[in-house]
């Protein structure tokens, strides 16, 4: 799929999700009332950010195996967009927890899931910090690939943290018998997936151009122009 089409489709699907949330799904459930509407952006961001981190882990493994610089670019692009999704998850989760759990329980340390997601966010922030603090070259790619693989090992732990810790408040799965809720939930997931793929491709193109600039500057130096 062409990048522009991918972008357009992603944004269109997100707008449709917004429309479904605004006009189709029921406006209130159980005791949490209308605050559950945050779920339709919170859940897709969370699931897709974990997927992107796992993809970055796979790309890092492929880099370590084949030493293909393209895999390094895919990994960093996926991690950047995954960080975006993780930030959205954390902030929307915190906003939702305010009416649902109350402010004392909305704090990051109050729940294993919240804490583990925050730690995952910090881990990938460290990845990006490591990347910008090193000079471009094979050494940086190698370090980042190893870090990417190690950080990806944390993702399943984040997902299953609710099952591991019995006192978790965060539900493992959220379901509903309503078709409108189910459909909007998975349509939201698909729309965020398409948008995130477009963003990953955009970031990859950006890094490819960065590499081209560096290559051209090396050519200048080599030719002594």
């Amino acid at each position: 799929m062409r990048l522009q089409l991918n972008n357009l489709l992603g944004w269109a699907m997100v707008i449709v999700t917004l429309a479904l949330v605004g006009f189709w799904v029921p406006s209130g459930v159980n005791q949490i009332g209308g605050s559950y509407l945050i779920f339709f952006f919170h859940f897709p961001s969370a699931l897709n950010c974990m997927e992107l981190f796992l993809v970055a882990g796979v790309c890092s493994i492929l880099y370590l195996r084949n030493k293909n610089p393209s895999m390094d670019l895919w990994a960093v692009s996926a991690i950047e967009v995954g960080m975006l999704g993780c930030t959205i998850t954390l902030v929307t989760g915190a906003i939702w927890a305010m009416p649902a759990w109350g402010p004392s329980d909305a704090w990051i340390t109050s729940d294993p899931r919240l804490l583990s997601v925050y730690l995952m966010w910090l881990t990938y922030a460290a990845y990006l910090a490591l990347r910008v603090s090193m000079e471009q070259g094979k050494k940086r790619e190698l370090f980042c690939a190893v870090f990417g693989v190690l950080a990806a090992l944390n993702v399943p732990f984040v997902y299953f943290s609710i099952r591991i810790f019995a006192d978790a408040k965060h539900p493992m799965e959220v379901g509903s018998s309503s078709f409108a809720i189910k459909f909007t939930q998975w349509f939201g997931w698909a729309s965020f997936l398409v948008l995130y793929i477009a963003l990953v491709r955009l970031r990859r193109r950006h890094y490819q151009r960065c590499r081209q600039v560096d290559q051209l500057q090396e050519d200048f130096n080599r030719a002594r122009i």
Binding site: N7, V29, Y36, T92, V132, R209
Partner: protein, 149 residues
């Protein structure tokens, strides 16, 4: 020079951004976060029975929530508060953040594209200019004179 500037900018953004976002998350999730929606006597936003949201109908029955339900059961509008403010802020944040990231990607990509094109043109020109004097030097000397018959 440009690459150096971009590199410094990237470094400063990446070193500041995690702290900035951590500060925002801390501010939003902090227990001391101001609860503008609640009435003065309210203990928590969850205890909507006691405080109630501004401009919203008070729910009937107890609605103190210790954990969000794992199964969403649809209720009428009158039975639960809408928490419109929270929903508005959450969606506003998501859309703003996505749009910001997207715009940043596009702008950075365009700048780099221009830079690549400029460098490629300059490189080709420079290569051509470097080769030209050698050729003109040869041309000025002229071909070796043909021996007279």
């Amino acid at each position: 020079m440009y690459a150096c500037g971009v590199s410094i900018m990237k470094r400063s953004i990446f070193s500041i951004a995690p702290f900035a976002v951590a500060a925002v998350i801390a501010a939003v999730a902090n227990p001391a976060f101001p609860q503008a929606d609640n009435g003065p006597g309210a203990k928590t936003p969850a205890s909507v029975d006691e405080g109630g949201l501004e401009g919203e109908k008070k729910p009937s029955g107890s609605s103190i929530v210790s954990a969000p339900p794992s199964v969403f059961q649809i209720t009428g509008k009158s039975e639960a508060p809408s928490f419109k403010k929270y929903v508005f802020w959450a969606y506003g944040f998501v859309c703003f953040f996505l749009f910001l990231f997207y715009t940043l990607c596009i702008l950075q990509s365009r700048k780099l594209e221009k830079r690549v094109n400029y460098l490629q043109e300059r490189f080709e020109d420079a290569c051509a200019a470097k080769e030209a004097p050698e050729e003109t030097g040869k041309a000025a000397a002229g071909p070796p004179a043909a021996p007279l018959p």
